[in-house]
Symmetry: C4
Subunit: 126 residues, 4 copies
């Protein structure tokens, strides 16, 4: 397979980790995730920047997706340099040293039945 | 970071603010939102136009997203030049003087459990 | 505003009208919709073709969106040349004589709480 | 109609078949689906590759969408060369010998009310 699938910079304008959950953890813990596919023969080194409404951006969060692997990251679990506060509006920019593809998903279980939403992230022209 | 991320005109064809809500306000108030990320070093000045089914477009609604900030706007809260009526079909065009990225989200809590949907808005070629 | 916003052909691969509903009609009737924005100074004349799994495509369904207006069409309500059967997989291709922007939404109220999903449709290069 | 609609390679980074369901099968069985439209006058021969987090990609899964037909495939039902385990993160790459259009949908009925999400898949430039 042609290894050059995707883009090296992606944006997710919507971000909000619902504060509260119903159902067994971790499956039903309210969360936001970004799913990354790396079809390359080399590892993808990611740098994630989190933007806020009322303070400077935070990052980079450094993550790795191995060659020919997918990884579904929860924003809830980012903690270096600092965790993302719950119940707070944010946006994210995901940069990689090789082309990747990114999808955004939220599971909201604040009420007793969960709700889902998803979209392919916005790919910046290479 | 390269500041030229995004587009200066975005479209959201779907628009409908559900008339009615369950759960505590404002988190569970039924709403439609557009989330804007401005990665530029300068503020983004937005002009939003609302299109209707049976009358002329209304706008511009003028909004600002500060440099290197995100802002999640609820259509429910737009009120100058006039509020958007609940339970009414509309579309929106969001224009900015600098490139931005826009995502559309609806939370519908008319029934006792909320439902969610999201999509990256349609970016018009620059 | 520049009137040339959008594309003249859009595709929605997913199509399925849930057979059954809970809650008051028409708001909570299970439905699939495509929302069309026409920013042009002239009416948009649409030709919709419905594709099925096991028989020939059906169409065109002819619809109009007035100049500078939006219209949210329910697939449930298409009936000329024939209605779309409930509980059946289909896809749609939406063509217009002027550029438009299209978004796909489903409300599923088969169970007692409704579920929502949406996406910008696939724009074919002009 | 111009037959060259779509792309020959599509990516869905998000993949997770919820392990558990409520409601009558098969409509309410938790599932992930990819809906394919083939507007060509010839059959589309698909090769699907599934990527995982911690092992090598699996595939190709070979599928066909007849000329001028749509087909909604459930990932749950793929089984040659092997089924996709439930409750496991994966991604998919869908390749075709003719241009197609692909949309991703999940129905999650693990809780008593179902949740839905959808997005047009990511089209790789032809």
């Amino acid at each position: 397979m042609n290894n050059k699938i995707g883009h090296t910079r992606w944006v997710i304008p919507e971000g909000y980790i619902p504060p509260g959950s119903h159902g067994p953890a971790p499956e039903f813990t309210s969360h936001e995730a970004f799913c990354v596919l790396n079809t390359n023969e080399t590892d993808a080194h990611l740098a994630v920047t989190i933007y806020y409404t009322d303070r400077d951006p935070v990052g980079p969060y450094r993550l790795t997706v191995a060659a020919r692997r997918t990884k579904h990251f929860r924003f809830n679990n980012l903690n270096d340099p600092e965790p993302i506060p719950l119940g707070t509006s944010y946006s994210s920019v995901i940069e990689s040293d090789v082309p990747i593809i990114v999808q955004h998903t939220r599971l909201d279980s604040r009420q007793s039945e969960n709700a889902l939403m998803t979209t392919i992230a916005y790919p910046c022209p290479n």
